[in-house]
């Protein structure tokens, strides 16, 4: 039985879809059988980021309304044999499907996959409730901005109420220089407010934009710092103990030394 993980954030534009695409791909690179499900009905993006837009025949709503079987709607990735995605409908909206229908679809996928990554739409309304319905684990994505942290906090509250005992946190789009100068929220401060387990930090990387535009997930490029961060997160999902990626490790060590010398 596979594990269904929902990627959510509350605020839009913090990188849910990018994170979903990259975690899905990274888990596939590590030999897992993965299905990504886009629940952002009406504003689907995951297919674009994955470069699979032109292969869509059926979508989530078609499955929910019985126009096709779930296997017919799955799109196999062009790069990996064990990576699939279930696209959202573009012509409908979030109210055209119910949490129960999504839960049934996710349940029907579980026996065939190791991981099901559910890309959640922004907001906390019906779309959010649909996305979390079938999931057993949640990853909350935020960026080092007050607004994003505020919304992440709201979403964590809702997740805890919906019986997700321990959601995990990804801090996305970190600019190490700004953080060092104190122009950006510190990782420690964010973790202190949100008080959930940090599963990874991802540096802001221009390559992510380039990759999304060309339909190639960032993790494919081993030279990208963000790619390394995403691979590390995937390894942590698999249960490995991986130290936080280098930008953090360096500053963390540096800070510890400074503290030790009484300068911090």
């Amino acid at each position: 039985m596979g594990e269904a993980i929902v990627v959510t954030s509350g605020k839009g534009g913090v990188g849910k879809t990018t994170t979903s695409a990259n975690l899905g791909t990274a888990l596939a690179i590590m030999g897992k059988k993965v299905c990504m499900v886009d629940t952002d009905i009406g504003l689907r993006n995951l297919d674009v980021v994955m470069g699979l837009e032109n292969r869509i025949i059926y979508d989530l709503i078609d499955v929910a309304e019985g126009r096709c079987r779930v296997n017919q709607a799955l799109i196999k990735d062009k790069r990996f044999d064990e990576l699939y995605m279930l696209p959202a409908a573009q012509t409908k909206d979030k109210n055209d499907i119910t949490p129960d229908q999504v839960r049934q679809i996710i349940e029907s996928l579980k026996p065939d996959f190791d991981y099901i990554i559910i890309d959640c739409p922004a907001g906390i309304e019906q779309g959010f409730r649909n996305a979390i319905a079938g999931a057993t684990q949640a990853i909350v994505v935020t960026t080092p901005e007050n607004a994003a942290v505020r919304d992440a906090d709201r979403v964590i509250g809702l997740l805890e109420k919906s019986h997700f005992p321990s959601p995990k946190l990804i801090i996305n789009r970190i600019r190490p220089n700004m953080m060092k100068n104190g122009d950006m929220l510190e990782i420690e401060d964010i973790c202190q407010v949100l008080a959930i387990d940090l599963i990874g930090i991802v540096p802001d990387d221009e390559y992510v934009i380039k990759a999304a535009n060309s339909g190639e997930p960032t993790v494919m490029n081993v030279n990208s710092k963000a790619a390394i961060a995403y691979r590390n997160i995937a390894r942590r999902i698999l249960g490995e103990t991986v130290p936080l990626s280098q930008l953090e490790e360096k500053s963390g060590m540096f800070r510890k030394v400074k503290k030790f010398l009484g300068m911090g």
């Binding site: 505020r150 709201r154 964590i156 509250g157 407010v193």
Partner: protein, 220 residues
């Protein structure tokens, strides 16, 4: 016996229920019990009758229960099954001195806690989270959200927090907006209170000067 009767006797399937008035003097009650038994002497002879005594809201000592028993024992056929009082009712005075309620957890953005009385939170209040409380609020943790103490107009209510970084504080109908009006990032515990109708912050140890509660210390 003029006026109200203090002892009511009711028959039930199992025997007799004695409903004793809970407002009158206990002595009056015993007197009337005696009179009643004398009056109905004939009825209380014969086969054994089970007696259930209900004292209403009156709480009595074992000694007084014994006095009731001894009166009833005069009638050989009365077997006392129980002497009961209602569980102590909620005293209306409790409202004047609200109890302290303890809560554990993080109050996150969008979550609101409302409580009538004093509240002790073991955890944080995050930005966007709210506590509304008719009494005092004590937070063992960081206060980054909004707290309204003394919601029913109590201007003596206080708000205390280990880390005082609220987005908004209210006591009674006074609203204060840090950091526009004041800031605090002191490493010790502080509390907010109303001084002449405006919000003020002080360290926790100053509270007893304001409240002037008598503390009784034991020991030397």
């Amino acid at each position: 016996m003029a006026g109200k009767s203090y002892v009511t006797i009711k028959g039930i399937k199992e025997g007799l229920v004695f409903l004793l008035d809970d407002q009158c003097e206990f002595v009056t009650l015993l007197d009337e019990l005696n009179t009643k038994l004398d009056k109905h002497e004939q009825q209380f002879t014969g086969p054994i009758v089970h007696i259930f005594i209900k004292l209403g809201s009156r709480q009595v000592e074992e000694e007084d229960k014994e006095r009731i028993r001894s009166i009833l024992r005069r009638q050989g056929n009365l077997l006392i099954q129980s002497i009961e009082s209602d569980p102590p009712a909620i005293d209306p005075n409790v409202k004047l001195a609200p109890s302290l309620h303890t809560m554990t957890g993080i109050i996150r953005s969008g979550q609101t806690v409302e409580y009538s009385g004093h509240l002790l939170l073991l955890g944080d209040v995050n930005p966007g989270g709210t506590i509304k409380c008719s009494g005092d609020v004590f937070i063992l943790g960081a206060l980054r959200g909004a707290v309204h103490a003394g919601t029913e107009g109590n201007v003596d209510a206080i708000i205390a927090a280990s880390l005082m970084k609220p987005t908004q504080l209210r006591i009674a109908d006074i609203i204060s907006r840090p950091p526009d009006e004041w800031t605090s990032a002191e490493p010790w515990m502080e509390y907010a209170f109303l001084r002449d109708g405006t919000m003020a912050i002080d360290k926790m140890t100053s509270l007893n000067r304001q409240r002037k509660e008598v503390m009784q210390f034991k020991g030397v």
